[in-house]
Subunit: 470 residues, 2 copies
């Protein structure tokens, strides 16, 4: 940040010709697709629908880019600040383009792109489909033949979709810069990729020197629960303490789901014991007296509370990381986006059971809770993940700060950039070399056979001549 | 180390039925091969000769393994110590086997194996030959088609040699453990690989979570030059100061070369100005008055001296790292082993020029020194490498210590181990998946063609029948 900046943060607003309604509509369509349609569509239909939705997203994103990059006044102000670095999530387009236009280095902070297309194709992150499952694919790193086949098809199909979608950006980027520019190459110019996971969550996989895994950088030790300050939480600590040795369960399905159907709400409520439930909807009728509903809960402080035995979660990364940080086993009720895949990670690492939101019954929730609370392996796994999370050379926040400041100090981090960026896909995979080697082998065999047959004919004709003359 | 260990280090000796003469002979044969024979042999001859030399090395190594693993008394003492970790360089075999027998975790410290066969095949380190040059291959990470072709052949030939050589170890390991055991799988069980380079030296490349780059961990700030304490260095600081603004040059060809030919010695001496030369041989006749010869020099302190302008080096990794640490440009006279490849790294990064030991003349040394001293780009590059070396999240020594202690605390680091270890080579590269996909495509095309031709025949025969009946 420029030293003359008056406050710690300064926010610039810019105009985008997009109604909130339009944005919400697309968002709702995405949600509906992910939660209800995906289960009953074929693989091809899912991909076609996903492609159409992403086209709408691309249109909106380009409008947002326009609001930023075509605003001369704003760009002039940004230039005037002489920033040292752009820090952005590449899920939103054009931050790399802005860095290019402003002529300053770029640091990405990213959770993932679908099937890691962006990290793989633009960032050159190596990912053999045989043991690196694509993000959202719900595989672990232990795949049999069929899983590996499906994972490969997942990579291929998502690559095709991404490459097709990026054509729109290619046009836009070329237009802004006034020279032919590829979106993916521009994204690949990022100096550092801060990936918001770590080996407590991620399956071990190959990566590159400019990929830094800083998962859990938002986590912090638990604070005492509010007792007096906020009336809404007035007696939270008291309520938690009444659980005695049984302890409590923390329950939230995140901020995207404000309302369940009354039926679902009642069904869930029926299953719960001593629970703090973050829920914005109508209070279910079957709610037990030892379940409390709040519009918002101090989730991190509750997860870090010694009485907390389990966490019922939709499987958002932030919540999972708070549970890992505090070593709390989980019951996952994943809804959409990366949530199902996230919960597969936690299940594979032995720290969670997964329920199906659409088919689960009260009994399943009770069983799930009993499993993660009473089978000690879940608590052990959660504790192990917590140990991995804490026992690393540097706190994730410090590591992220180090690399952002490194880029600011050194005007980039080009020494961490692999030369794979200058290769085509067939050069990268040495297909031209393999073709040349195979051609050589074939040529040698061909020459060998021809020579042999020539010699053979010579010999035969000589012996024939000989026998004739005899 | 066991807490009851009386001293900080305790050394165990063991008997190996090998004469020093035999070891020296093999070493000399290696040296002669690397320094004089390699240039005049064909690629095939080099590989055959190398294979034969490595067979001798394998024989000797297995004798050394025997001395350790078949000594019941020694193994019993080692068991009694209850060590927490084995720390070893895998260039010497059987440390992994010892860790397995003792049932304790294993940390490797490694500079490289030829063409990185061990890291790639046993450690599962990914290395696309298109932009990751094999160690000793003397390529950079910017390779054209021919370079990539040769690098691929280098990988392939070295892999074949390694796999063939490891068969001896397979037998030995199986014999010791009493069950079929592969050497490469045993090596692959290492929890952490501490690689003794970093991105100041290494070309950026993919790596794995359990590979930690701790290059330069032996480097330290320069101490003042000895003035009084050691008579041999009595006036070293004074001598350095007499150089005035011109500064000094530090010169060593390492500890392996004790004697040059008189001719070479005179030729080199003729070229040198204000130089501190570490050299154990006969004093050359043409030595200038401002060149001093020492049996041993405080190399790190000299390289860190503000008067030092350049470093003439054989290109050993330790010396190069001291030069990087202090930001000193280099003139490389590589002799054998990894030295030529090391110097290619430094040249590619703009911090060195390279001379050919066999063909160089006095003038070449003078020119080389003039270039790295007077062309500011060399000093700038050396300074940049020094900045990269120092500006990292953790000192390399601290990072190495952290991971060794991590393994001791957690009895391993299995969460960093990729599942690639359980795949065959064709599974790893998804060749079975590609075959299945290709077969499906071929089948679909076949069915399509058959169906078309069947329909076509039906139509034709119908129209023929029709035209006949007409």
């Amino acid at each position: 940040m420029a030293p003359s900046a008056p406050a710690r943060f300064s926010v610039e607003q810019f105009y985008v010709p997009l109604s909130l309604e339009k944005v919400t509509d697309v968002m709702d369509e995405f949600l509906h697709f992910a939660m209800y349609e995906m289960d009953r569509l074929s693989y091809l239909e899912i991909n076609l629908k996903y492609y159409r939705l992403m086209q709408k997203d691309t249109e909106m994103q380009i409008l947002m880019c326009d609001g930023l990059l075509r605003s001369e006044a704003l760009m002039e102000r940004l230039r005037g600040h002489r920033f040292d670095v752009v820090l952005a999530d590449p899920i939103f387009a054009c931050s790399d383009l802005m860095a290019e236009v402003l002529g300053i280095p770029l640091v990405f902070t990213l959770r993932f792109s679908v099937a890691n297309t962006m990290e793989r194709l633009c960032g050159q992150l190596p990912a053999p489909p045989s043991f690196v499952p694509g993000a959202m694919g719900k595989f672990t790193d232990r795949m049999g033949f069929v899983d590996r086949l499906i994972n490969s098809i997942f990579y291929l199909s998502q690559d095709l979709i991404a490459i097709k979608l990026w054509e729109e950006y290619d046009k836009y980027y070329s237009d802004i810069l006034g020279r032919p520019t590829k979106f993916c190459e521009s994204v690949g110019m990022a100096d550092i990729w801060l990936i918001r996971t770590y080996w407590d969550f991620e399956y071990p996989r190959p990566f590159l020197p400019n990929f830094k895994f800083v998962g859990g950088l938002h986590c912090r030790p638990a604070m005492p629960l509010p007792e007096q300050s906020l009336t809404v939480f007035k007696d939270m600590e008291e309520f938690v303490q009444t659980s005695g040795d049984d302890g409590i369960v923390v329950f939230t399905l995140g901020s995207m789901i404000q309302n369940l159907t009354t039926e679902k709400g009642n069904m869930i409520a029926h299953a719960l014991g001593q629970v703090l439930w973050r829920y914005g909807g109508e209070k279910p009728k079957t709610l037990a007296s030892n379940t409390r509903i709040y519009d918002w809960i101090p989730q991190n402080d509750l997860l870090g509370h010694p009485k907390t035995k389990a966490f019922i979660t939709h499987g958002g990364t932030n919540g999972i990381y708070e549970a890992i940080y505090h070593g709390v086993p989980m019951v996952g009720i994943p809804l959409f986006a990366d949530q199902p895949d996230n919960m597969v990670h936690m299940k594979a690492k032995g720290a969670a059971v997964i329920l199906d939101y659409n088919t689960m019954q009260s009994k399943d929730i009770v069983d799930g809770l009993n499993t993660v609370i009473n089978d000690p392996s879940y608590k052990e796994s959660a504790t192990r993940l917590s140990r991995i999370h804490h026992d690393r050379p540097m706190k994730p926040q410090d590591e992220a700060i180090f690399w952002i400041e490194f880029v600011m100090r050194n005007k980039g981090a080009k020494h961490l950039r692999v030369q794979a960026h200058r290769l085509t896909w067939y050069q990268y995979h040495s297909l031209d070399v393999i073709a040349a080697l195979l051609a050589t082998v074939v040529l040698i065999i061909f020459i060998f056979i021809k020579t042999c047959s020539f010699c053979f004919r010579k010999c035969c004709s000589r012996s024939r001549t000989k026998s004739k003359s005899e």
